[in-house]
Amino acid sequence: MKPTYKIALVGNPNCGKSSLFNALTGLRQKVGNFPGVTVDRKTGYFSLKDGREVSLIDLPGTYSLYPSAEDEKVATSTLANPKDSDHPDLVVLVADATNLRRSLLLCTQVMDLGLPVVLAINMADLLEKEGRSLNAALLSSLLGIPVVVISALKGLGIKELIDEVAKPHQPSAKPFFVVPGSFDAVLVPVIKKIGTASRYLAWLLLMRPENFSWLDSDPILPDSSSHLLDDQESLVNNEMAVRYDRINAIVEQVEGSPLRPGHRLGDRLDRVLLHPVLGYVIFVGLLGLIFQSIFAWASYPMDWIDAGFSAGGEALRGILPEGWFTGLLIDGAWAGLGGIVIFVPQIAMLFFFISILEDSGYMSRVVFLMDRIVRPFGFSGKSVIPLIGGMACAVPSVMMARNIPSRAERIITIMVTPLMSCSARIPVYVLLISMFVPDTRFLGIFNLQGLVMTGMYFLGFFMALAVAWVIKTVARYSSGGIFVTELPIYRLPRWRNILLTMYHKSRTFVMEAGKVILMISMVLWFLKTYGPQEKMAAIDAEYLPKIEATADEKEKATLQDAQGAAKLQASFAGVVGRAIEPVIRPLGFDWKIGISLLTSFAAREVFVGTMATLYSAGADAAEDEDGKFEGLRARMKAEVNPVTGKPVYTAATALSLLIFYAFAMQCMSTLAVVKKETGSWKLTFVMLAYMTGLAYGASLLVYQLCS
């Protein structure tokens, strides 16, 4: 196999790096993980004219080699560590034509590391539109590196870039920033120890030793001269000042006139979108629109998937021989898989909309609007994105918390996101609300049931804020972090990027959450289907003859439903349900609800299906025409407690159950993702514990108060 040429794409966030990556690699790309950190690792391949294969890695966007967030650290260490498996042979530095100065800061730092660099100035189309000029040739000679002007979006200059990349390249002969000789005493031992030719690398290490954990040597600082390193902040600031002085001089010669593309439109948009009143109105309106769309449109593919999996299950059942293994395969694994895949439309759509918001530049405006509001609760503006996403599904939203630089804020956000009313809770809400909330109009215009539904959403939101506040107070965390963000230019979304993001995130969800759900689905299937031998045999003995005896299809179906219900009651799940009944009785629940609570631990919507089975309301109960579970509801209402003679399902029970579902952690996928993103079992268990406790406590309170 020919040795691959390793190239890294480096650049500021929002510089169009991903567009270039997509343009170069097309579909020959893969998204994985960097070991030990939750940062996406995007790699891909493309070929050069001479037949060589290029392995391209799109490093996370960073402003400088003094990283401030997890993903920036990864970019820095990949470039600094020659032994890193992703360490490139060549760097393509993607610069933003509208922010050349800042891009050059990063560029000169990378050059000083001793890596060969090709500078690709992106957004050339904006240059042309404005009629501005940029003397690329002069820039190239002043910097001492090749410069190619491209527009990744329009596909301009890509061929020229590929040709340039194919040529042999050397690291820059002279460093851009010359580390003062006065530091030799500390630098030389470091240089010798790492074995590098780059004084700048040694300087970087001394300025930020904490970022160099990949060097498993002990602190290299010699004691005697360490006074030189007393004030690292000033040293770094001075270095930046020196770099910018040179960069300013260069840019002045090279730029026709300062570039301000699209500012007029952007300014006008901002005046509306960041308006103290209108801005918020628009934001809430947009959110409403997005969620409506997700619920409305996602239901079609969800129904197809549901039907598809049911049909597939039946087909399999027809082919495979009867036996426990078939049961495990079809009702356990296949059904479990269906339970995962059915989420994909919602997740894909959620990411679709969020990617549009991010790509267009609107997302940073949202962060701007919400920062002041969420700060008292321990969040920063950036936490809003996962919180919003949590209203559709917590699983991808927890992943989105990666954008939050402050670890404390990130954790608070993750811990609290599952409280937002996610879409899986909807079937449960609908069942209970339609049972006990009259279908009337409130104040003449508002549908009472709809109001209660909306109320549940607000409940989740306010509880999330409350819990965050508690965590913040208990942990004595003061949200004092420095908050400085860019408000990028508004742009039309780049559809290729968006579709690729949708694909990658959905795939991650299925892979990660999928494994966990599948396993637990199978365990639950076992618990639901099997029980103490004698009891199961007795049920069969009772029902089978009766079923054989009748010819009437309807009566057969009824008997089979009853048999199913009896079996469920006798199964291990039923045993557990009865065992926990004393614990849940103060909440107004009986053992049947107990079983359903247990089974819905896999995924919340399973609650309705399990209830349907328990009440032998038949398989159709969960998929009613009007979506309101007529059959199931009727039977639930008719249920009478044998001991007290009173109905089991009172309004108080329903309310208590609603509250329980609002707060309980009943989603293994979420737990799996939280463990992955926080890297801590302890935090995951803490979340499980507090949510369960909260659900139990609130439910208890509500039931006792209402009955």
């Binding site: 509208t98 800042r102 952007g266 701007f368 860019e486």
Partner: protein, 99 residues
Amino acid sequence: MGKGIFPKKRLHLLHTLENDAKNGMIWLAELKVGHEALVLSIQDPQLKLALLRIGLLEGDKVLLTEQAPLGGPMAFRVRGGKIAMRRSDAAKVQIKLLA
């Protein structure tokens, strides 16, 4: 201190700003929407680095374009585009009023 609109910290901030104005020092936090200023110095080294990384240097001009309500962040037009920062951070940036 509290969750109120005017927590102790903020009252203190306003008080300090008033004092500085008497001494002739003006801070970025006091800039009004639509006005331009020249950044003289950034006192806090961490803030300075954060701003440097995002492309704002001492000696640059800034124009305050939007101000979020209730003491929220401020949005500025700077040389390379637009940035946002919290008022508490803007209070550490010394400026000279231009227009």
